[in-house]
């Protein structure tokens, strides 16, 4: 599924963000894209933000129009779409999805060896206005919303403004932010975030080693360990809920047990610990030689680490692992974390008894994989 497409446009001279309506909508017309199909409009478009047309351009004039769209046929009521003057159409939010994410910025202050979303050194703080507008347009009934980057906190006060806006407009939406946590080294920043008191906020923060130099090497940023670890302390102090995310690869496996002990002793306030398989996107390919380890070869470490964390009372999940390479003791911890529309299975998966419980593979990441992918016997269901 594609989230963007280039369309023909008319009467658009700045980026417009609006909510989709297939049928005549209420008083918030000025925020609404009327969706036309095959040149047919559901009603008079006067007063609407504009018209998005799947296929032919409908006969309208004097209001913004984007037409000729073919890929975005999934658009439905409540989805949010941005259209640029040059015809670039982006789906920012889909109401039916549980995986809506705001890419806050493409800038980052780390450069992790396995980054799946390599940062760009661009000044993109103008995104902030679009994010704020998007948050205002998202359906308040949305259960979950993610924020990612780059490093979202780099917008400093802008980041805090985003969180505050989410609290104001989407108070019942769980908000999950992926951040390296480094800026919370500044106690005041953590204090300000805590003061917003978002009712359901979780920061997902990576910790890759119990040794500063090892962590710093993996994230390619000297001093990052100190900033992140002290940042975690500050966040705990101001009651911001955090999740620790550990990506498993050849550089993090050797001290995984010690890392688990470190987390149990120093981050016992974590709400959740995610132990994650490599995602085969982005920088991981160029660093594959130093990062790759077949998941089959780290099951002993993974199980011991999970046991240490569980014995410490922490909630543990394992992401991005096919069940056939995962120790069966660890199956209860495995989550189907791959977004529903990007996971696939392989020919050798056919006949597998647990496929419906298995996250499978990222669509674009099946080439590098464990040498032990195979069908496995099913889970015997209890009466």
């Amino acid at each position: 599924m594609r989230l963007h497409e280039t369309a023909g446009v008319a009467n658009i001279n700045r980026s417009l963000v609006g909510r989709i309506a297939r049928t005549p909508s209420g008083p918030d017309r000025a925020d609404t894209w009327l969706l036309a199909e095959d040149g047919l409009l559901p009603c008079d478009p006067a007063g609407y933000l504009g018209v998005l047309a799947l296929g032919a351009r409908p006969a309208v004039d004097g209001i913004p129009v984007a037409f000729g769209l073919r890929q975005l046929g999934y658009l439905d009521d409540g989805d949010v779409v941005a259209v640029d003057p040059n015809g670039f159409v982006r789906t920012l939010y889909r109401r039916s999805s549980r995986h809506n994410v705001i890419l806050v910025t493409e800038q980052c202050n780390s450069l992790c060896l396995m980054c799946s979303q390599p940062p760009k050194a661009v000044e993109d703080s103008d995104r902030l206005d679009e994010h704020l507008r998007l948050i205002g347009l998202i359906d308040p009934a949305t259960e979950e919303l993610g924020m990612t980057g780059g490093e979202p906190t780099l917008f400093r006060d802008g980041f805090l403004e985003l969180i505050a806006r989410c609290k104001e407009r989407l108070p019942s939406t769980a908000l999950h932010v992926l951040t390296n946590g480094r800026l919370f080294y500044y106690r005041r920043f953590a204090e300000k975030l805590g003061a917003i008191a978002h009712p359901d906020l979780m920061l997902g923060i990576p910790l890759y080693s119990d040794i500063d130099a090892h962590h710093d090497h993996i994230v390619q940023a000297p001093g990052a360990f100190e900033e992140t670890v002290l940042g975690l302390q500050h966040l705990a102090r101001y009651r911001v809920r955090i999740e620790i995310r550990v990506v498993l690869h050849a550089l993090s496996i050797p001290r995984l047990l010690q890392l688990a002990t470190f987390i149990a002793r120093n981050v016992p306030f974590a709400s959740h610990v995610a132990l994650m398989g490599l995602e085969m996107f982005g920088l991981v390919h160029q660093n594959l030689k130093v990062l790759w380890i077949d998941p089959v070869d780290y099951q002993t470490e993974l199980r011991s680490a999970a046991e240490i964390l569980l014995d410490a009372g922490l909630n543990v999940s394992i992401y991005n692992h096919q069940l056939c390479v995962l120790d069966r003791h660890l199956w209860p911890l495995a989550r189907k974390s791959i977004s529903d529309w990007k996971n696939v299975y392989l020919p050798q998966c056919s006949g597998c008894g647990v496929m419906e419980h298995c996250g499978g593979f990222f669509q674009s990441g099946t080439k590098v994989r464990s040498a032990h992918i195979q069908p496995v016997r099913p889970v015997e269901t209890c009466a």
Binding site: D212, E226, Q233, N266, L310, D311, H329, L333
Partner: protein, 481 residues
């Protein structure tokens, strides 16, 4: 060789080849004697695994990073968090009377003289005034005796009154009644249910042993306890009653049978307790007496049985081990008044006796019954909160119980996991400060900690069991069938 600095730790030559190091916040590591020497001589190679392990556990630092200092500070604060909030556990001796005449019992009286041995309504009210002066955010009131059910009217008054005051002040409060259950009736059960009261009872083991330890008219203590437990579980819920056992001379040969009795009755915890050297216990030492060494042999056998049961899928916690393991294996504090530094006497728990006298601990009260009132902090009718909780007596107890300053404790590797019990030390030696290593308190804790360490190292299955004890629930990792 590399440039690093040492952070505070203590150490112990744990066996022929290895040295155990323990830091100020209770994290530990085993080093070979050679590694230990390299470590303290600053000749450690910075790429060795042991170096990295010690660095991650904050035994050494090698840069100007604030991480080890900030984390140690946080963890030290966390370990001493039992001091937050001051006195939270308040024990009421609602009556000294009891219809049991246990050989080891410290102070109860088989008597019908209600006027003499029951707590009056006015005394209870005044004691509650003191309870609610405590700054503790969560209060716990434990009603005991004697046998508190012999004076149920006072139990009812205290629970109702305390509940009302807690609601008015928006404070959390919980209630425990410590009872032999022999006199439990439907009216009491209904009251406990209505007010969410937790029950704690005594169970010494199989019937013959229990009844021999705990004589009462009819010699039916065991049967009545079991019937009481059954009814409490039926009415209040399976987890609303716990049992404690006291080890007597007769118990020593029966560790397996005692443990099995707890498992058979569906308890999820057992607390293996030696006899306290107080009250009548000192006088009946010939009948029930045994050495600490004998108790520890008993403890080891009982613990083996408990671990075997757990390995077989029966969840059963040994409470003392659970307490020590929580200190050894987690960053958290555990307030156990008889084993913390400073001790919890008065500042963690306090006892209001039937006659209004206030004691720093139950043991202090027992000493007073024997004629030594030195740990009496005051009386609810004559003294104010400030003089009771800020007075010279309590100050002396607390000062004497800072293990960090006790000779023999100060440099013991186990100090961060241990504590002091000045009232016990006084009762056994006449001195608030123990004489290490001659102290039985030291003998017990040093031995058990060492034993737990060796079990922890033994195999992954035991570590799993210990982990489940720390979490107070069965392990969550089971293979998917």
């Amino acid at each position: 060789m590399s440039a690093f600095g040492l952070l505070p730790f203590r150490f112990l030559r744990i066996d022929e080849t290895r040295t155990l190091v323990v830091n100020e916040v209770g994290e530990f590591h085993h080093l070979t004697n050679e590694e230990f020497l390299q470590f303290v001589r600053h000749e450690f190679s910075s790429d060795s695994t042991a170096y990295l392990d010690l660095k991650a556990k904050h035994f050494l630092f090698d840069s100007d990073s604030l991480v080890p200092f900030e984390l140690l500070a946080t963890k030290y604060r966390t370990k001493k968090a039992f001091l937050d909030g001051f006195t939270s556990l308040h024990l009421f001796v609602v009556s000294l009377r009891c219809e049991h005449s246990c050989h080891y019992c410290q102070v109860s009286r088989v008597s019908i003289d209600r006027a003499r041995y029951d707590m009056s309504g006015e005394t209870a009210r005044r004691a509650l005034d003191l309870v609610f002066r405590s700054p503790a955010p969560r209060l716990k009131i434990e009603l005991q005796g004697g046998e508190p059910l012999l004076h149920f009217e006072r139990v009812r008054q205290i629970v109702l009154d305390a509940r009302m005051r807690a609601e008015a002040e928006n404070r959390e409060i919980e209630f425990v009644v410590t009872t032999n259950l022999a006199l439990l009736n439907d009216e009491m059960l209904a009251f406990f249910k209505e007010h969410d009261v937790f029950l704690s009872t005594s169970l010494d083991g199989p019937e013959a042993l229990h009844n021999a330890n705990r004589p009462r008219p009819g010699n039916d203590s065991h049967a009545r306890a079991l019937e009481g437990i059954r009814r409490v579980r039926e009415t209040l819920g399976q987890d609303r009653v716990a049992a404690l056992m006291t080890t007597t001379r007769g118990s020593l040969a029966l560790p397996e049978a005692i443990v099995d009795e707890y498992a058979r009755l569906g308890f999820t915890s057992i607390f293996l307790r030696p006899l306290s050297p107080y009250g009548f216990a000192l006088r009946s030492v010939r009948a029930t007496g045994y050495s600490m060494r004998e108790f520890l042999q008993f403890y080891v056998r009982a613990l083996d049985r408990i671990l075997a049961l757990n390995a077989g899928g029966t969840y059963l916690v040994e409470t003392y081990a659970q307490l020590l393991l929580t200190r050894m294996l987690t960053p958290f504090a555990t307030g156990y008044v008889d084993l913390q530094s400073p001790a919890g006497a008065g500042i963690g728990a306090v006892v209001y006796n039937y006659d209004g006298d206030v004691y720093a601990s139950d043991e202090s009260r027992m000493l007073a019954e024997m004629g030594d009132t030195r740990f009496r902090l005051g009386n609810v009718h004559r003294d104010c909160y400030e003089s009771i909780f800020g007075g010279e007596t309590l100050r002396r107890i607390v000062t004497a119980s800072v293990a960090e300053s006790i000779p023999g404790c100060a440099d013991c590797a186990f100090l961060p996991w241990c504590g002091a019990d000045p009232v016990h030390h006084y009762a056994t030696t006449g001195d608030l400060v123990p004489r290490i290593p001659a102290s039985d308190f030291h003998e017990k804790n040093f031995f058990i900690i060492r034993h737990l360490l060796s079990l922890y190292e033994r195999d992954a299955a035991t570590r799993r069991i210990f982990g489940s004890w720390i979490q107070d629930r069965p392990s969550r990792l089971e293979e998917v069938a």
